[in-house]
């Protein structure tokens, strides 16, 4: 049997598979379809330090080979999260990487500290796609200086591996990746869904309730693979690759570009068996190609 274990900044995953935050429910939705411990790590829904209802409907629109969404990262209050979610997350027998978001540096610092102090999580993913309210609404992750300043501040709050999840917008991702690495991030998750929108040709008005949303699914995969390729060349911390992965071929593509682990996202909504199938197929692929260790393919497209 080939080795499937990967190590993301000290998070030991028995295989390279995790899920995109917000794509795997939070209420046991997928346990009906396969055991959660099949995953290398679980990344539950992003949490904020405050309650947030999310965006007004409609929140979804179909796109060619993808999904346009503006859910808006709804979040329950910290008290409810601790009471309702944490006891469930505690029992999960694989590493849990909690994803967090904030609108200001202070909110990120607060939520990272709170999550870290729980002692339940194997790592913390910082979703850097949120607009920085104090900097004119540009997302933290679009600005190397804002990202660096933020990572330095949250770094002081936790010893847990910090994973910076980067947005692909504004074509600055390589500089942002270098900035978060130098500021002390332990890994990079990429790419978050790029901003996108649709306009109804009949009404000539935006389709989504929030007007602007983000595109996910196979439509964004070539962009994500390219950006992983570029960032892999620029940093030495591990990359969790994501963006339109649907099967084992996509996994191999992302890993060859430089990802050490991968996240299945929107495909979970469409095909509840995508993950178990891809895991089996990946194993078979490694056997058929005489690859003893999945780590061998990380970045192999660069050689």
């Amino acid at each position: 049997m080939p080795n499937l274990c990967v190590n993301i900044a000290g998070i030991k995953m028995k295989n390279p598979f995790t899920v995109g935050s917000g794509t795997f429910g939070n209420d046991g939705e997928f346990e009906k379809f396969f055991p959660i411990e099949l995953l290398g790590a679980l990344t539950p829904k992003t949490i904020r330090s405050y309650e947030w209802p999310g965006n007004p409907p409609p929140r979804l629109a179909e796109a060619a080979a993808g999904l346009l969404s503006s859910v808006g990262i709804p979040s329950k209050s910290w008290e409810r999260f601790v009471k309702e979610d944490v006891p469930v997350l505690k029992k999960i027998p694989i590493p849990v990487i909690q994803s967090v978001i904030g609108r200001t540096e202070e909110e990120y610092v607060e939520i990272v500290k709170k999550c870290s102090d729980l002692g339940v999580f194997a790592g913390i993913e910082l979703n850097l796609s949120c607009p920085n309210l104090k900097q004119g609404g540009l997302s933290f992750g679009s600005d190397p200086q804002a990202s660096e300043s933020l990572i330095k501040k949250v770094r002081k709050q936790t010893k847990l591996p910090l994973i910076a999840k980067l947005p692909p917008d504004y074509s600055n991702i390589v500089n942002v990746a270098k900035a978060v690495e130098s500021a002390g991030a332990d890994a990079i998750a990429m790419i978050n869904a790029p901003r996108a929108m649709a306009i109804d040709y009949k009404t000539r008005k935006p389709v989504l309730g929030n007007k602007v949303g983000a595109l996910s699914g196979p439509a964004i995969k070539p962009i994500a693979v390219y950006l992983v390729w570029e960032v892999y060349k620029a940093v030495s911390i591990p990359i969790i690759g994501m963006g339109g992965i649907v099967d084992f071929r996509d996994v191999i593509e992302f890993m060859s570009a430089g990802a050490r682990a991968v996240a299945f996202g929107t495909i979970n909504f469409i095909d509840t068996q995508a993950i178990p199938r891809a895991l089996k197929d990946l194993e078979n692929y490694l056997i058929e190609n005489n690859i003893d260790d999945v780590n061998e393919i990380v970045g192999c497209a660069h050689c």
Binding site: K32, P53, G54, L67, P74, V246, T272
Partner: protein, 264 residues
Amino acid sequence: MIKSVKAEIVENKPIAPEFFRMTLKAETLASEGLPGQFVMVKVSPNLEPFLRRPISLHQINREEATVSLLYQVVGKGTRLMSETQKGKVIELLGPLGKGFTWSDSDRVVALVGGGCGTAPLVALAHSLLEDKKEVHVLLGAQTKEKLVCEEDFISMGAKVKVATDDGSYGHHGFVTDLLKNLIHDVALDMVYSCGPLPMTKEVVKLTQEASIPCQISLEERMGCGIGACIGCVCKVRTKDGAFTYKKVCKDGPVFKGEEVMFDD
């Protein structure tokens, strides 16, 4: 229990302009599905179109181990469904969501259906009549030829009235006009509704004025159908007068009329 099932198409044929009825051999859906629940249909063998389509259970036949879906061809997904041949096997996820409910004390009920919203009311009427309730069915359609399921309800023993937008059949006007009259004439214990949003809003208004409890089935664009993507939300009133978002796929699609907040 929600399952991913593969089901053979026993029949798939047009029953009115734009309307198709697909019958599937699907044992678990037939034995576990309830009126008002739905399935997510994988309409093509590949990922184009990307999303599955939510379609309500229209008929649930436990003896034959079949379920039927009545759908209107409105876009790419439903067009592909309409082109899928009898004998083919398709993938479905279900049964999903919370369906209609009824209690022993309800004696006389009304079902209000508009357009394709009539579909789940057929399974509901079947169950209610089995439970020996007096069932009034009010159907609204654009035209006589786009009216569906009238004979199904009549043959079950329901009392049916029809309204058409163009007056080509039955009452010339809205189906809610018929509800107004029925509320006046008959003491109703419960009203069930499924149809376009303006109709649903009017049903809620009329039943609230008459203090009759009402259950409405909502339609929203859905991503996953199982509550994971949080894409299909509606506003539901909270005790403090504010609102919270509820998932149409998991908390619904059937809601109490008074709990949903409509944006005007």
